[in-house]
């Protein structure tokens, strides 16, 4: 039973007392169950503390008691917005430990679907970020497009959100009959729709004044904190795992990496918008060159990677999502460790927020694009 704090540190009339504001875990714009403890001077943030772990399920420990096949669905529950990308990390890690030869067609379909997932994730980010800043309509527009992607997922995987998309060595089944047609129709629509969103936001005075110069982080600081993904590229650091260590079929497609210069919320917004266009380009090339053939490698009945450890990471929608796997030669991993992009990105929150107003805190949480399922694991 707290009372509103009355002046305790007030020295003069102009001096305002420090107020502690508890934001979350039940709060509309903490994107899940993040709890942020704000110390406010008036409305200016002078200190901030994140309290995480409300969604902790101990999945890294659970993985030690599951076989390699059984672990895959757990990965979908990390970043549930990008379940397809997450699943890819896991299967590729295991495939590489075992030295499996995944067919080209599987690689191409994986590329198409993970890029679709990137667009879906960015659309959800765009909607919620705009909603936090007050533009409600963008959310529903973005969900309209995301729905089309989820329909493709539903027909391909049988599930919309936690897809359990891949199997070690390939895919559970080949693409469905109208797959190419559906994907082509989607990428035909999305370009115009993205332009529409940019018309509403990019040159809007209020949007500009809410995002330009808010939450600035330099490239050096971004690297020091361990940011990855669009948050890192918004600060002008040219790093994209799809380019640096190509996986799936990314070595075969041409695309550009968008970079911001100022590292503020507006640059990160532009970077993500451009990434969606580049994803569309990747999908276009992959669907045009989609090879025929089987989609599964020859996989032993019992998956037992050789003794040793391995790290593999991909460029997820939120940043570098990686898997460090230690195998003792049995059917279960000895240790599995997730390299979570959102967890690392959330570390920047304090640095970005101090000195800004309460309204900017929600904008900055939005621009970091966090998903608590992955932070808490």
């Amino acid at each position: 039973m707290h009372q509103v704090e009355i002046a305790t540190t007030q020295q003069t009339v102009l001096d305002s007392p420090v107020m502690t504001l508890n934001m979350g875990p039940q709060h509309p714009s903490t994107h899940g169950v993040l709890r942020v403890i704000l110390k406010l001077d008036g409305e200016t943030v002078i200190d901030l503390d994140c309290d995480i772990g409300y969604l902790h399920r101990g999945m890294e420990k659970i993985a030690e008691n599951r076989t390699y096949t059984m672990i895959a669905p757990y990965w979908d529950r990390l970043d549930y917005i990008a379940a397809v990308s997450n699943g890819l990390v896991w299967v590729e890690t295991v495939e590489q430990m075992m030295g499996l030869d995944v067919p080209r067609r599987a690689h191409y379909i994986r590329t198409i679907l993970t890029e679709l997932n990137r667009i879906a994730s960015h659309l959800l980010w765009l909607g919620t970020h705009a909603l936090d800043i007050g533009a409600v309509t963008i959310l529903l527009w973005a969900f309209r497009e995301r729905e089309e992607i989820l329909k493709i997922f539903e027909r391909q995987f049988g599930a919309r959100l936690t897809c359990h998309a891949w199997r070690v060595g390939g895919m559970p089944n080949d693409s469905y009959d109208d797959f190419e047609q559906d994907v082509r129709r989607f990428i035909g629509n999305i370009a115009g729709r993205l332009d529409e969103y940019e018309t509403v936001l990019s040159e809007n005075r209020i949007w500009l004044s809410r995002t330009v110069g808010v939450g600035v982080i330099s490239g050096a600081d971004a690297i020091a904190i361990g940011l990855s993904g669009p948050a890192l590229r918004g600060s002008g650091v040219a790093w994209d795992i799809r380019k640096a260590r190509p996986y799936a079929a990314y070595a075969d497609v041409d695309f550009d990496v968008p970079l911001g210069d100022n590292g503020d919320t507006y640059d990160r917004y532009l970077v993500r918008m451009e990434e969606m266009r580049q994803s569309r380009r990747i999908i276009q090339q992959a669907i045009d060159n989609l090879p025929d053939g089987p989609v599964n490698a020859k996989v032993p009945k019992l998956i037992k990677p050789p003794i040793g450890d391995y790290y593999h990471s991909i460029e997820g929608p939120k940043g570098e999502i990686g898997c460090y796997l230690v195998s003792d030669g049995t059917q279960q991993p000895w240790r599995m460790r997730v390299r979570p992009p959102c967890f690392m990105n959330l570390q920047a929150l304090k640095k970005l927020c101090i000195g800004h107003l309460v309204a900017d805190v929600v904008a900055i949480i939005g621009t970091l694009d966090i998903v608590l399922g992955e932070i808490d694991r």
């Binding site: 504001l21 714009s29 705009a130 309509t137 795992i241 799936a248 100022n262 490698a297 309460v358």
Partner: protein, 442 residues
């Protein structure tokens, strides 16, 4: 008119029981008040329905469709639901203040309707000769409700919301009050009916003389109602629900009604001041002049509602299109843009009136009469309109001079492009696969 014959019937019926004074000064006013309150309440309820429908169409969905045809009974269903909900008061709240605040909000919003002229003759409840001052004074009382609600809830979110909204409403009231003065100089009266009458006798709507005043009044009106893009007080992404975070059930819905009623009031007052109120060209000539008095009133009433409805649509349109301002930016807009603009407007309008009078005295015929407002001749009208639009340019220049150093001034120039780079490809993380698929037959 046959439709309105019952009114005369009731009148004669009442006269059988009461004296003529009682009927004219007590009973009919009460009937009027009842009618206006009912109509306003319905208007408010269906404003929520319209808002939901319009937002749905903007957002590519259908909106309420289940209750009644096209969801037309949705507001009534919502009202019933809210009525039967538990009346919850938090333990640490200041009970009485918490209890009273919603009533203050609703009463302050509804009572303004008393002076709004919905039409000529019997469509006015009361014509106070200081009507504009009454509107400004009573709508300021609404702030009190928000402060009391925010404070008595004993919650930090509610307190922050109340602080924000009171600061916002106080600062926008200044420019709102100053913006009206320009129109008053032409109307030469504070009575709202008088203002409409002066626009009618001058055959013009004041927004032609007062484009800047109209814009300032609308923006400050939206800001004073705490509506998007100025809805900081109840910014759900920051302050959950602002000052009414702790309210629930019907007490919450009273705040909701107050918000919509305040919107209706601002649109009604804006219509009266700048869009000629119930006055529309040719209506008088085709009805009253031909002897259809009640038809004249009804058509004027419809004209008034249509104009106010258009402004109300503007509210919805803005709300579902624009992002929200930040607190400091809102204060910037209020004090550094709207306040100087309204001051410039007063000075320029005063000069315009003096110039018109001077020209009239020096022989050029610009003023017809000043009996019911400032009635201008066609040449006088042209001069006044030129002043109005010259004022647009002048305000733009002066406001740019005031604000050119502020960070937000040339944001569009700050809009940047991002670089697109093609990074060199690194060593593949995944083993390149042989072209022949024969290895991997399943």
């Amino acid at each position: 008119m046959a439709l309105l014959a019952p009114l005369n019937l009731i009148d004669s019926l009442l006269l059988k029981f009461f004296s003529e004074q009682t009927v004219n000064y007590v009973i009919w006013p009460f009937i009027q008040i009842g009618a206006v309150v009912t109509i306003t309440a319905l208007w408010v309820a269906y404003a929520t329905y319209l808002e939901r429908k319009i937002s749905a169409f903007i957002q590519a969905r259908l909106g309420p469709m289940r209750v009644g045809p096209w969801g037309l009974l949705q507001p009534i269903a919502d009202g019933l639901k809210l009525l039967v909900k538990e009346d919850f008061i938090p333990e640490n709240a200041d009970r009485w203040v918490f209890f009273v605040a919603p009533y203050i909000a609703v009463v302050a919003a509804f009572i303004v309707m008393a002076v709004v002229p919905f039409g000529p003759d019997w469509a006015v409840i009361t014509d106070v000769n200081i009507g504009v001052l009454f509107v400004l004074a009573v709508s300021s009382v609404g702030v009190l409700a928000l402060i009391l609600a925010g404070w008595s809830s004993n919650s930090k979110y509610a307190l922050l919301g109340a602080l924000r909204s009171s600061a916002q409403m106080v600062s926008y009231e200044v420019s709102m009050g100053l913006a009206i003065i320009g129109a008053l100089m032409f109307a030469r009266t504070l009575s709202l009916s008088g203002i409409v009458a002066s626009q009618q006798s001058d055959s013009i709507w004041f927004f032609v003389y007062q484009p800047i005043g109209f814009i300032i009044f609308l923006i400050s009106g939206i800001a004073e109602n705490n509506r998007a893009p100025f809805d900081l007080a109840e910014a759900e992404s920051e302050l959950v629900a602002g000052f009414h975070t702790e309210y629930s059930g019907f007490r919450w819905s009273l705040f909701f009604m107050a918000e919509y009623a305040a919107m209706v009031v601002v649109t009604a007052v804006a219509t009266t001041l700048y869009l000629g109120g119930w006055y529309f060209p040719f209506v008088y000539r085709f009805t009253e002049a031909k002897g259809f008095h009640n038809a004249y009133v009804v058509v004027s009433l419809i004209v008034f509602l249509a104009k106010a409805g258009l402004l109300l649509y503007l509210y919805f349109w803005l709300r579902w299109t624009l992002p929200r301002f930040r607190y400091d930016q809102l204060m910037d807009l209020g004090w550094k843009w709207l306040l100087p603009a309204s001051l410039i407007n007063i000075v320029v309008t005063a000069i315009a009136v003096v110039v018109l009078q001077g020209l009239n005295e020096s022989g050029i015929h610009t003023i017809d009469s000043i009996a019911g407002g400032l009635n201008l001749t066609p040449s006088g009208k042209v001069i006044a309109i030129l002043f109005g639009f010259g004022n647009l340019l002048l305000s733009a220049v002066i406001l740019s001079l005031i604000n050119w150093r502020s960070r937000d001034f040339n944001l569009k120039k700050q809009r940047r492009q991002i670089r697109l780079v093609d990074l060199p490809k690194g060593r593949a993380a995944v083993k390149p696969v042989s072209e022949e698929p024969e290895l991997s037959k399943v």
